[in-house]
């Protein structure tokens, strides 16, 4: 590596002696070096004496007080703030309920409750929904919400194919203002999921006259306003003092985006965050040993799914799919993530309608799996598993060894999520895929032959349609339960576990939600002392 820096010039050096100025330069350099060293040492010394200082935001008393700033560590950052166009629960999590609201919303247990609407009625045939609006609802712009804003917002979603929720409102035939405080939504056919959709992205009410840039700011009706978004770092919400309902207790919320689990742990232990959501399972014990943090496993609708490409041999063979499913010991997988999940035998998790315990279907039975493979002539099977590279590898490595035990070799192909979207989701070019299906009530994917599973069962499609056109909750539940039992038996995928992300909550915090926190995080009632 050493270089000969001898100049390739003529033999006669053109260099003149300037020793005095050179000496000055040298002394200067030495002085700078010395100063830097002294400064650095002083800095470190000063540092260690500062460690005893009290952290900002803590108060002597342990009783919750109004006000204060809650700092929440999250792992997944939204790509932008445009609730109309941008996918992902990372956006729902911070903006729905806190900044944007719909006619209806979800309460802490996930039940649908009126929000901007004071109440609503549903016709017996399930085709007409009538919403009465609350008076004096205001946007963050200061303008009052009018019935026209509601009609305009919902109509925008139905008319623009690139808006989130557009497909969910496809049964809507008319949205009309009956009078100044009543909105009527008419359907072409009953849709039991309509209220659920309206409680999510599809139903958010925006101001028609507003021209804020939705990608970088927001103008909703919720208890908080977007104060500052530093991409790749944090999103700050401030309490909206003109809020039309019961105002929030917190002055502000700072969502800090920390992707690395260890980094998140350090932030919590250093007192930089009050709550850390989606704690890496193998780090839970580090929080557990602390008196000032409680760890709660939050219920969720997230299903870690090992999908089989049913459109590709040998996975088009039911026996092979069953064999793979029976070769997998989901209890061991859940143990490998420190118990941060619940076993699941079908795509429907316990928070969603239609849940029944189907864990006995295609349950762990390696001997039977080998037998099935032998009968199918696939005793030496090699398959590729395509995995987005942002997932923890522990459960995946375990999967590889479990399948090896029954004679299946898995080649793990780790790709960026965007590559997964193209290869697996769009082109369906894969054998097995491992991904977290985080959306709630997404059973419809199994009733869609075009979905990347390549799974097609007309009986399931029909039952799902029945569940949509059902007009009572019981009917919805029973149709979906029936459909999910069929799906479980067909084994288009193995539902590895229903993820219950551990959340570390400081003992200074109260009123922090503990259900569905990866998708919604309503903080209107939260306090920090």
């Amino acid at each position: 590596m050493s270089q000969d820096n001898r100049p390739a010039g003529p033999g006669k050096p053109a260099y003149e002696k300037k020793s005095r100025s050179n000496r000055k330069v040298l002394y200067g350099i030495l002085a700078i070096i010395a100063a830097a060293v002294v400064f650095g040492v002083a800095f470190l010394v000063g540092q260690s004496t500062r460690a005893g200082e009290e952290k900002p935001g803590s108060s002597a008393s342990g009783t919750p007080t109004d006000g204060g700033s809650l700092r929440v560590g999250l792992s997944l950052e939204p790509t932008n703030l445009d609730v109309r166009k941008t996918a992902g629960v990372a956006l729902d999590q911070v903006l729905i309920d806190n900044v944007y609201q719909g006619l209806v919303g979800l309460d802490a247990t996930g039940d649908i409750v009126p929000v901007i609407a004071s109440d609503y009625t549903q016709s017996d045939d399930g085709l007409t929904y009538t919403f009465t609006l609350n008076d004096d609802v205001v946007f963050h712009s200061g303008n009052a919400l009018s019935v026209n804003d509601v009609v305009w917002s919902l109509t925008q979603v139905t008319e623009n194919e690139d808006f989130r929720g557009n497909a969910e409102l496809s049964d809507v035939t008319a949205i009309t203002a009956v009078d100044d405080s009543t909105v009527e939504i008419t359907l072409g056919q009953p849709n039991s999921q309509l209220l659920w959709s309206l409680a999510g992205r599809a139903g958010l009410i925006l101001e028609e006259a507003s021209d804020v840039d939705l990608a970088t700011s927001a103008n909703g009706t919720g208890p908080f306003v977007v104060d500052n978004w530093k991409q790749g770092d944090s999103l700050t919400l401030k309490r909206y003092n003109e809020y039309w309902g019961t105002p929030a207790k917190l002055d502000s919320i700072v969502f800090r985006y920390i992707t690395d689990g260890n980094a998140a742990l350090n932030a919590a232990l250093n007192g930089d965050v009050d709550v850390q959501t989606a704690v890496f399972p193998n780090l839970v014990s580090q929080y557990d040993t602390r008196d000032d943090f409680d760890v709660v496993n939050a219920d969720s609708s997230e299903v870690f799914t090992l999908a089989y490409n049913s459109g590709r041999a040998p996975l088009d063979n039911l026996a092979v799919r069953q064999a793979i499913s029976q070769a997998i010991d989901t209890d061991a997988l859940i143990e490998s993530i420190e118990g941060a999940g619940k076993p699941l035998g079908s795509p429907i998790p316990s928070l969603d309608p239609g849940y029944t315990d189907l864990t006995k279907v295609n349950a762990y039975d390696p001997e039977h799996a080998k037998q099935l493979l032998a009968e199918a002539g696939q005793s030496n099977l090699t398959l590729t598993l395509t995995v987005p590279n942002h997932y923890e590898m522990t459960p995946i490595n375990l999967l590889v060894s479990q399948l090896a035990d029954v004679g299946i070799t898995l080649n793990v192909q780790s790709v960026e999520f965007s590559t997964w979207l193209e290869q697996v989701y769009t082109n369906k070019d894969y054998d097995l895929s491992y991904v977290n299906h985080a959306e709630a009530r997404d059973f419809g994917n199994y009733a869609n032959p075009d979905y990347y599973f390549n799974y097609n069962n007309p009986a399931v499609d029909a039952l799902y349609e029945d569940s949509l056109s059902a007009t009572s909750d019981d009917q919805v539940d029973s149709k979906l339960a029936e459909a999910s039992a069929l799906v479980a038996a067909d084994a288009p995928a193995k539902w590895l576990y229903n993820y219950t992300p551990p959340t570390a909550i400081s003992t200074k915090v109260s009123g922090f939600p503990t259900s569905n926190t990866n998708a919604r995080l309503n903080l209107v009632a939260a306090t920090v002392s």
Binding site: S19, I29, D233, N262
Partner: protein
């Protein structure tokens, strides 16, 4: 001299044009596309297509390239299709982390490389000099990630004196706090970078020690060290300026790794996130800005060399061109 300047500037411009084309084409080879990322894993193909249409991703690549270049001439780096923010504003914001980080890393690297490199050369035949050389070769081979983890373990975990994660939310409004959060990451790059530089300093000093005018000075009765300090070091400094120019690229690569590791909202982490999102129109502007910085620094160093070092002028004069 004028001609030299014109030629260098034209070279710079040509370099940027070629770089822009290369960056544009290579990014288009990546699988995946931003419309699918925006649409997510519940979207119908029709929705992805609608988004692609609204983002103008269906236009011919040449048209897209021309749009981008035309924007560059207006000093407009465009907007991110994913975040909707102007790219220039975001680069400016992230530079507030990355520039100080790079500067601090270089400072630390220089503080290590210069004194130790010169000592290693002067003590060339002593055990101590050999030891410095061996340690530097080892340190230069340390992967940045591993070095960073070690430093975190020592200063943050064991001693608990320095923050290992993140950057203050209010940026430089508390300079001391911001500086402290950059110290460990800068040490990570600086130590490894310093080890690399040390070997350059050592070999430059060695050749200076052997140079005619230094040997002449020593023959006039100056000690070897004195002769080196008064006659050799200016030449060493000169050759190292060029090396520092080359190290800009290494600093950028170091920043990418270190910003991930230390969770710093800088240019490096932004690049990783943007490539992940396939926000190509943004990535191409970011990479071009970084490339431009490297090329401009290189050009400036060349020009500085011409002005500082009379021997180059002379060599050119003797070779019959000027």
């Amino acid at each position: 001299m004028t001609r030299f300047l014109v030629v260098r500037l034209l070279n710079l411009l040509l370099g940027l044009v070629v770089a822009s084309a290369v960056i544009f084409v290579t990014l288009r080879i990546l699988p995946g596309d931003v419309a699918a990322v925006i649409a997510g894993s519940q979207a119908s193909p029709a929705r992805v297509e609608a988004i692609r249409e609204s983002l103008g991703l269906n236009r011919p690549l040449l048209v897209q390239y021309w749009d981008w270049v035309a924007g560059l001439f207006r000093l407009d780096l465009g907007n991110s299709v994913v975040t909707g923010t102007p790219v220039a504003a975001e680069i400016t914001q992230k530079m507030q982390v990355t520039l100080p980080l790079a500067g601090l890393s270089l400072l630390i690297g220089g503080l290590i490389a210069f004194p130790l490199g010169i000592l290693a050369a002067i003590w060339n035949r002593r055990v101590l000099g050999r030891l410095i050389t061996v340690v530097s070769i080892t340190a230069a081979a340390v992967p940045v990630v591993w070095g960073g983890l070690m430093l975190i373990a020592i200063f943050s975990g064991w001693l608990g004196v320095l923050p290992s994660q993140g950057f203050p939310i209010d940026g430089w409004s508390d300079p001391a706090r911001a500086f402290r959060s950059l110290l460990l990451p800068a040490l990570t790059i600086g130590l490894i970078e310093g080890a690399v530089l040390l070997r350059f300093v050592r070999s430059a000093t060695l050749s200076a020690l052997g140079a005619d005018h230094v040997r002449t000075a020593a023959a006039r009765g100056l000690t070897k060290t004195k002769a080196l300090i008064t006659h050799g070091l200016p030449v060493v400094g000169l050759s190292l300026v060029s090396i520092l120019g080359l190290q800009v690229a290494a600093l950028v690569v170091g920043a990418v790794v270190v910003e991930q590791l230390f969770n710093l909202p800088g240019i490096g982490r932004m690049l990783v996130v943007d490539v992940g999102n396939r926000d190509l129109s943004k990535v191409q502007s970011e990479i071009l800005v970084i490339t431009a910085i490297i090329l401009v620094v290189g050009t400036l160093i060349d020009i500085a060399h011409r002005i500082i070092d009379p021997r180059q002028l002379q060599a050119e004069a003797e070779a019959g061109r000027s």
